[in-house]
Symmetry: C2
Subunit: 116 residues, 2 copies
DNA sequence: ATTACATATACGAATTTAATGATATAAGAA
DNA sequence: TTCTTATATCATTAAATTCGTATATGTAAT
């Protein structure tokens, strides 16, 4: 799946579309581009977790974690489910997982490979 | 390549490593998470381009484009080569391309597929 | 040496984002 | 009902980012 050729795009209606897509993508990336939020998503990639579990893992204040989660919710990267007092978070869709996997492959795979 | 299990990580030295990787990754993502910079990288994915070409494509001020490029340079997402008066930019490595491809697959492929 | 062109950098104003402490809501237990 | 636990939201401040204007640098041409 090659990236598109400039010639096919320049000055056309496709340019507008490309700009629109870039905006959507950069919005999602903004949500991802934060150390704590990225860690949250990596943990959620393993399966759903309650806010308390996430707090403990990150070792950050409750309100801070909750606000990062709110951000991820608003940008539709995660979904929630309530069970009693707890609210469980999980990745919202496969797109998020795809991006996370790519990031994981680039930044984390080399580490594991080196350690074998 | 599965994402790692929490059990294997929690409380261990691996946690520190994971946090370090998250910081590296989020730094790169911050550079990516900007509409113009993302467009610049998409254009560069096709091949090297001079600053003037990039300016024309984006339709933004010279200093703005140059500053975005500086940011990408500092974060090592692009490299440069001088030829006479012009400076040509290109993607710095395959890691950048991998991430861009994942983003492209998620945000742009569906569009093209739909149009066929 | 002067000029023109391509690109980079400096600086400040405006905007955005993040962290904190305090308060609110919702559920369950007593 | 009151208390406690889990989570969310609000308000304030601090810090980071972005964009514009202006200026500087490097190369080539005259």
């Amino acid at each position: 799946m090659p990236l598109p050729k400039l010639k096919e795009i320049e000055g056309s209606a496709e340019l507008e579309q490309m700009i629109e897509k870039a905006r959507e993508a950069s919005d999602m990336l903004k949500a991802l581009s934060h150390e704590s939020r990225l860690l949250l998503l990596c943990i959620l990639a393993e399966g759903e977790k309650s806010v308390t579990e996430l707090e403990q893992f990150l070792g950050e204040r409750q309100s801070t974690v909750s606000q990062q989660l709110a951000r991820l919710r608003l940008d539709r990267l995660v979904t929630t489910r309530r069970d009693g007092k707890a609210i469980y978070y999980s990745l919202a869709n496969e797109d998020v997982r795809k991006i996370l996997t790519a990031i994981y492959d680039v930044f984390c795979e080399p580490v594991r490979r080196r350690r074998r």
